[in-house]
């Protein structure tokens, strides 16, 4: 959605919005969320996000800074902040150059922090109602002080129709050894008292950055001259540069301030708990996750499988005989097994389908052209 803001700033076509704001404006957003990061249980959270923005009076550039404090129901909290800015220079009647910089950092609990800094150059070819751009970013992302080079190549096009903005873009990002491509489409509609924004995307050709589809939507309802109710929800992919992990969220917030263009809420790093192989940002509507609880005389295996009608498990602790699990509350299935210490191998099957590897185990080739989940019982 930042791209939408850039389009608006680049073409200066959203005059109705910009005319209402001062050159320097600020807002603060306070809200509550239900978040569910990949590999974690859902959690409620409360957030406060101040934003300040400066815009050139004739739309030649802007600088924006934003911070987010987010507190989970567990009592843990996260803090992140970012600043970015761009300057636009007319090269020809329909050609504009853009130079931008961005930097940010994030930290959650006692985990290693992430930070990044980037410089960006874009070339915009535009008319009154449509345009296209191509650009590149280069910079560095730091994990605990260890740098990785960041290179992003991007291209896209956009359309403006008075109260509507749409764009489609294709990015290729390379961060150290990680590389992926994002194909995105977004739309924004501005009514008299409401602004709707939505984005859908797909992460493809990924090496270490996760893959899958995602989408986010938001509605900003004007309640007063400088007050809006902002409702947003969606699923987003892992952001390798800033260190945010994939997840889904629903947020209701009140925004007090005077900037009508909204960026998506920052996501924090839920990194004080396990993240397993297979949850590196992949989007799966049928995720099957294993939890292991060691008890006095046996082991309780619990499978979290939303939407499943039946779950079977097989492994060395069942002599590889399929054993149906008992349905628990909601989306959980459980069984009790006797196991010895050491390595164990298993697969699970939902609704009579193929044998799969649940997250929560290490994925290994199984000698039979498939995969098996492995875990160690201490």
């Amino acid at each position: 959605m930042r791209t939408l803001a850039l389009i608006v700033a680049a073409c200066g076509a959203d005059a109705g919005a910009n005319a209402l704001v001062a050159q320097v404006a600020a807002n603060i957003e306070a809200g509550v969320s239900e978040v569910r990061y990949d590999g974690f249980l859902a959690s409620a959270a409360a957030s406060v996000s101040p934003t300040i923005r400066w815009e050139h009076s004739r739309g030649r550039g802007f600088v924006s800074a934003r911070g987010t404090y987010l507190r989970f129901e567990s009592g843990r909290h996260s803090l992140d902040g970012s600043i970015n800015g761009s300057w636009f220079a007319p090269l020809a009647p329909r050609l504009r150059a853009e130079l931008g910089v961005s930097a940010g950092g994030s930290q959650y609990a006692n985990i290693a922090s992430f930070s990044h800094s980037e410089a960006e150059a874009r070339l915009h070819l535009m008319s009154a109602e449509r345009g296209a751009w191509a650009g590149a970013s280069a910079g560095r992302s730091y994990f605990s002080g260890l740098p990785r080079n960041v290179v992003v190549l991007a291209t896209g096009f956009w359309l403006l129709r008075r109260d509507k903005t749409m764009f489609v873009s294709l990015d290729r990002s390379s961060i150290g050894d990680t590389a992926f491509s994002d194909l995105r489409a977004s739309a924004r509609w501005r009514g008299s008292r409401v602004v709707l924004e939505g984005i859908v995307g797909a992460r493809v050709w990924s090496r270490g950055g996760g893959r899958g589809v995602y989408g986010e939507g938001s509605a900003a309802l004007t309640l007063g001259p400088d007050v809006a109710l902002v409702l947003s929800a969606g699923r987003y992919p892992t952001d390798v540069v800033s260190g945010s992990i994939a997840g889904r969220y629903v947020t209701a917030a009140v925004r007090v301030g005077s900037i009508p263009i909204r960026r998506p809420a920052s996501r924090v790093l839920p990194v004080n708990e396990p993240v397993y192989t297979g949850s590196d940002g992949a989007v799966s509507a049928t995720e099957t996750r294993l939890a292991i609880q060691i008890r006095a005389d046996d082991v309780l295996l619990t499978i979290y499988a939303a939407g499943a009608a039946s779950i079977e498990i097989t492994g060395d602790f069942t002599d590889w005989q399929p054993v149906p699990l008992n349905r628990g509350d909601g989306e959980t299935w459980a069984g009790v097994f006797r196991m010895t210490a050491g390595l164990h191998r298993l697969n699970v099957r939902r609704d009579g389908g193929p044998w799969i590897v649940p997250t929560g185990t290490m994925r290994r080739p199984d000698d039979y052209d498939g995969e098996v989940g492995v875990f160690v019982l201490p």
């Binding site: 567990s74 992990i245 050491g342 492995v374």
Partner: protein, 201 residues
């Protein structure tokens, strides 16, 4: 006496009703491999389990026999590296580490620097390599931790590395950072809860 013990072991394999799930030809070949391994002092149970896994996954008999033979050979290689005193779980974990790409010399060094069981250390080593950490970096990390870290510490170390990788950290850098920070030791000591239960952020 030795002959009697061997005959008894063969009898156990032959009479193991679990292997009745194999077709007769495959069963005969698997039993031969199991017997041979047993005579060599290798654990039979992992071999039987590998065969049963093949039947559940509807693998052809020849494929099952190949898998069992390969596992027997790898168990032998693991024992060579870990020594004759290695337990069955250690050998299985050693196989996982070797298959992941860990040099056999690393297994031997681990044996010499760690007094307690190597099962978890070897599993963590295999897991790190499977997570994208180079075999050399993973071996260096586990060797650095092995002399003093408890199994729980090693588990927490692996989790911390996986977490950092999931957040975009380069695998080898994440491993190095975690080894040097040592933060996983304290966090595990303060929270010895269920090892893999998902929690809230």
């Amino acid at each position: 006496m030795i002959v009697a013990a061997l005959l008894m072991a063969m009898q156990v394999a032959i009479q193991d009703p679990r292997l009745d799930r194999l077709d007769p030809d495959t069963r005969a070949q698997v039993i031969a491999v199991v017997d041979s391994a047993r005579q060599a002092g290798l654990p039979a149970e992992p071999l039987i389990q590998r065969a049963l896994e093949g039947t559940t996954k509807a693998a052809p008999g020849a494929r099952i026999v190949t898998a069992v033979r390969r596992l027997a050979a790898d168990l032998g290689a693991a024992r060579t590296a870990l020594g004759n005193s290695a337990s069955a779980p250690e050998l299985e974990a050693g196989v996982a580490a070797l298959r992941a790409g860990a040099p056999s010399q690393v297994l031997a060094t681990l044996r010499s620097v760690r007094r307690s069981s190597l099962t978890m250390a070897l599993s963590v080593l295999a897991d790190l390599v499977a997570s994208g950490v180079s075999a050399d970096s993973a071996a260096a990390a586990v060797l650095a931790l092995a002399p003093t870290a408890r199994d729980a510490d090693l588990v927490e170390f692996r989790r911390a590395v996986e977490r950092d990788i999931a957040l975009g950290a380069p695998p080898s850098a994440a491993t190095s950072v975690r080894v040097n920070s040592g933060a996983f030791v304290n966090s595990m000591s303060s929270d010895p809860g269920p090892p893999t239960r998902p929690r809230r952020p």
